[in-house]
């Protein structure tokens, strides 16, 4: 999809083009589109994803599960409908390319 929310440019799939332009308000708006109300737990995961992505870590669901912030089961519940993709989109980082 090609929606420009809060005037931040996104790619054809809705991922933010530049993670540095990300704001919490933007994240909230994107989350709302998925029917997600962001809680402290969501924010902790989002911050962790942004941090790891900036460090160049290839993100996987398994890694999120061992992050100490959440486990895999809860991760699926926090971001229904494809947790890593949805959370990455909200976190304003590129689409994950992992197969596991």
């Amino acid at each position: 999809m090609e929606t420009i929310v809060m005037n931040l440019p996104v790619n054809a799939e809705g991922y933010l083009l530049d993670p540095n332009t990300w704001t919490r308000e933007w994240a909230q708006e994107i989350a709302q589109g998925y029917g997600i109300t962001l809680t402290d737990k969501h924010w902790a995961v989002i911050e962790w994803l942004r941090k790891k992505q900036s460090e160049g870590v290839a993100l996987t669901i398994r890694k999120v599960g061992t992050s100490g912030i959440t486990d895999i089961k809860e991760f699926y519940q926090l971001f229904p409908g494809g947790p890593l993709k949805v959370s990455s989109k909200i976190a304003g980082i590129p689409k994950p390319v992992s197969c596991i």
């Binding site: 708006e29 699926y76 197969c99």
Partner: protein
């Protein structure tokens, strides 16, 4: 007559809705083989579906039962005999030498570890955590004299072929046979 409203009327901005209408809603992955690479193919497909927000169910039958059996799940082997894609150019007889298959399987697992691929039991746990369902085939379990207790705790039930088809019932389901 005057109508009163409890709350003042405010214009609410509609939230951007993100379309999530997938045609593929559910996959049923049938794993009938016990070779390392076949089992991993089944696990990757089921887990990959869950990662995309697609429902996933797994049905293990015949030698595939090895993958969900407590004692064997993390000790699966890759076939070094009768596998032309394995080290092409190598005489197939070498693949049959004692210990060769174990060595090849060990090397394969090592490569998988490098890619951060989980072992079979952990993979099954991940699938269950993601809402996937894992089942064993009744006929094959009876044939191999396996009881519910022999299987990993992630195995939800031992079911018949009819029950398996019921799992795949509904629109937007695909069955994948390995």
């Amino acid at each position: 007559m005057i109508e009163t409203l409890d709350k003042p009327v405010t214009e609410s901005k509609p939230a951007p809705t993100i379309k999530n209408e997938k045609k593929l809603k559910r996959v049923l992955v049938i794993c009938s083989k016990g070779k390392l690479e076949d089992v991993y193919a089944a696990l990757v497909l089921a887990n990959g579906a869950l990662m995309e927000g697609i429902e996933a169910k797994m049905f293990f039958t015949f030698f595939g039962l090895e993958a969900i059996t407590k004692k064997k799940a993390d000790h699966l082997h890759t076939a070094t005999v009768g596998n032309p894609a394995f080290m092409p150019g190598m005489p197939t007889m070498l693949g049959g030498l004692p210990g060769f298959e174990a060595f090849a399987s060990y090397m394969m697992m090592k490569e998988m570890d490098k890619l951060d691929m989980p072992h079979v039991t952990e993979f099954l746990q991940m699938i269950e955590a993601g809402g996937g369902e894992i089942y064993a085939c009744k006929l094959a379990a009876d044939m191999f004299h396996l009881k519910k207790d022999d299987f990993l705790p992630e195995v939800k039930d031992i079911i018949t072929v009819g029950d398996m088809y019921a799992l795949a019932d509904g629109e937007g389901t695909q069955i994948i046979f390995i």
